[in-house]
């Protein structure tokens, strides 16, 4: 479904991503993990088109999308959940979900989507996606805006950041439902042990290169340094 070939990316004189290559098959769940500064978020943005690689190719369903814009990739079926949700003055939660769905959702449908991320929907639909919402609320709305699209490939950049335990449990359920309903592929940038444990494969990034790709089932301790495992937040 998605293939990255020899991706390199430099910024501010630093070589951020070094010759990254991997393949994601349809319906698979990949977690990308690694220390802070290893290039995880940059890699996610490269796939979405937010950052452009200096060299290498991105192939989606056999088509080279390396030169495609963000919106072209979005329309081809890639979604992206931001680590830091974006705020808008004037655009309501309902508006944002309508834009995600590409149609005017009924209040009931919009409420159902919000309920999947644990928000009591009626009180949120008409609220603006701005600083009046807490960080956790904004994060859940961000995830809702991604789920609404129902695309074949979804990328989440640290979806657990800023959400509470209850939401985190829901997040795991959301991932499982996306896989079951859409046969969708998921890429999650994460430090969370429980997310790593449900992934089909874990891509370990270190200092901008892929140190190893580990299949599901291996104990984390066997391939992540003990101090890194301990630093993983256990929820």
């Amino acid at each position: 479904m998605l293939e990255l070939k020899n991706i390199n990316f430099r910024a501010d004189g630093k070589h951020i991503l070094k010759d990254i290559s991997f393949t994601l098959d349809a319906g698979k769940f990949i977690a990308i993990t690694g220390p802070n500064g290893s290039g995880k978020s940059t890699l996610a943005k490269i796939i979405m088109g937010i950052n452009k690689p200096d060299s290498g190719q991105i192939i989606l369903n056999g088509e080279d999308i390396t030169g495609y814009t963000i919106d072209q990739r979005a329309r081809m079926g890639i979604s992206f959940g931001f680590q830091q949700p974006v705020r808008f003055k004037g655009i309501t939660v309902h508006d944002l979900l309508n834009l995600s769905a590409k149609e005017k959702l009924s209040s009931k449908d919009a409420c159902d989507i919000l309920a999947t991320v644990g928000l009591c929907a009626n009180s949120y639909l008409d609220r603006e996606v701005n600083a009046s919402l807490s960080g956790g609320e904004l994060k859940r709305i961000e995830i809702a805006s991604v789920i609404t699209r129902g695309t074949k490939l979804t990328i989440f950049d640290e979806p657990e950041a800023g959400i509470d335990l209850w939401s985190f449990n829901n997040l795991i359920r959301v991932f499982n439902e996306m896989r079951a309903k859409l046969s969708g592929s998921i890429i999650v940038i994460s430090h969370q042990e429980r997310i790593l444990n449900i992934a089909d494969e874990i891509v370990l990034l270190t200092d901008g290169y892929i140190e190893k790709i580990v299949p599901h089932g291996q104990p984390l301790e066997s391939f992540i340094k003990m101090q890194d495992v301990r630093s993983c937040c256990k929820l």
């Binding site: 963000i70 808008f88 003055k89 834009l99 590409k102 805006s145």
Partner: protein
């Protein structure tokens, strides 16, 4: 006065400024090309033309609930210089909507001016929602100029919400709004302005919070595009235990320029006054987020602007 027949320009302007499909129902006063052309009153709302100058006095009976007064103005002749004085007397505990607006169609080479001077006198417990839209169109080189002056005098526990919008086609505007609030009075002003080309828009707010527990909330959202210039001046005086919040948000595009001049003065130790102002381009991350939902850059910008001015 005979009933008037609206031509296509009148109808289009009425739709733009008052969302009216034609002549309104209920209490209204329709003004066209500097003259009052039709007035209608109801048992609770009387409208009397002024004798000494152009304009009307509008009297809303105490305890009137749920009625709307429409006072649209349309100007389709080039070169008109129209000044109108409208005074609103809102009776005790009345609760009404006042729908105003001015649309100018100027195909000529002469400037067209409309200055609405509105004064509101709210009795104790009276409540109004004042909605005003300004709109201009036409292919002529003559400018479309609107300089509204608004005065609000608010009695004890009265409430006034003013929503003013100027989105398109007005070449120059200087808006002056002043208000004095009595005990427990509440004033909410929401202003939305978008300017293009070489347009100028200036807004001046002067609010005196005289009453105990009086409060004002002023929100200005504006977009200045191309070579247009906007100036926002607010002056809130806290003269008693009161609350005042002024918020000015502006988006600038192209060579647009926005000046925001806040002034808050606490003349009482129990006055609580806040001013917030932010001016900047559309945030790149907002465009990026909407593009990840499949919108083009241009579509994303349109959605952000429409949302901002909604």
């Amino acid at each position: 006065m005979d009933n008037v027949i609206l031509d296509k320009f009148d109808s289009a302007l009425l739709k733009a400024v008052a969302d009216l499909p034609g002549i309104p129902t209920g209490a209204f006063s329709l003004r066209k090309n500097g003259k009052s052309v039709q007035v209608n009153v109801t048992p609770n709302i009387n409208i009397i033309p002024k004798k000494d100058k152009p304009g009307i006095d509008i009297y809303v009976r105490a305890d009137t609930k749920g009625e709307t007064v429409h006072i649209p103005v349309v100007i389709t002749e080039s070169g008109i210089n129209d000044v109108v004085y409208n005074d609103f007397y809102i009776g005790k505990n009345a609760d009404v909507i006042i729908n105003a607006g001015c649309g100018i169609h100027n195909d000529g080479c002469n400037d067209t001016h409309h200055n609405g001077v509105h004064r509101f006198f709210l009795d104790e417990g009276a409540k109004i929602l004042y909605v005003e839209k300004h709109y201009g169109e036409g292919d002529g080189s003559g400018k479309r100029v609107l300089d509204p002056v608004t005065e609000v005098h608010m009695g004890k526990n009265s409430s006034c919400e003013m929503r003013t919008t100027q989105i398109k086609g007005v070449d120059s505007t200087v808006r002056s709004t002043s208000a004095e609030l009595g005990d427990g009075a509440s004033l909410v002003i929401t202003e939305k302005i978008m300017t293009h080309g070489e347009q100028l828009a200036e807004t001046n707010f002067n609010v005196d919070l005289n009453g105990f527990d009086s409060k004002v909330q002023v929100t200005s959202r504006s977009i200045a595009t191309e070579n247009s210039t906007q100036k926002f001046v607010s002056n809130v005086n806290g003269n008693n235990q009161c609350f005042g919040h002024v918020e000015c948000d502006a988006i600038i595009k192209d060579h647009g320029k926005v000046i925001s001049i806040p002034k808050i003065t606490a003349n009482c130790v129990d006055a609580n006054l806040i001013h917030e102002a932010a001016i900047g381009k559309i945030a790149g991350e907002q465009i990026t987020k909407l593009m990840t939902l499949g919108l083009t850059e241009s579509e994303a910008e349109t959605e952000i602007i429409n949302g901002f001015l909604k």
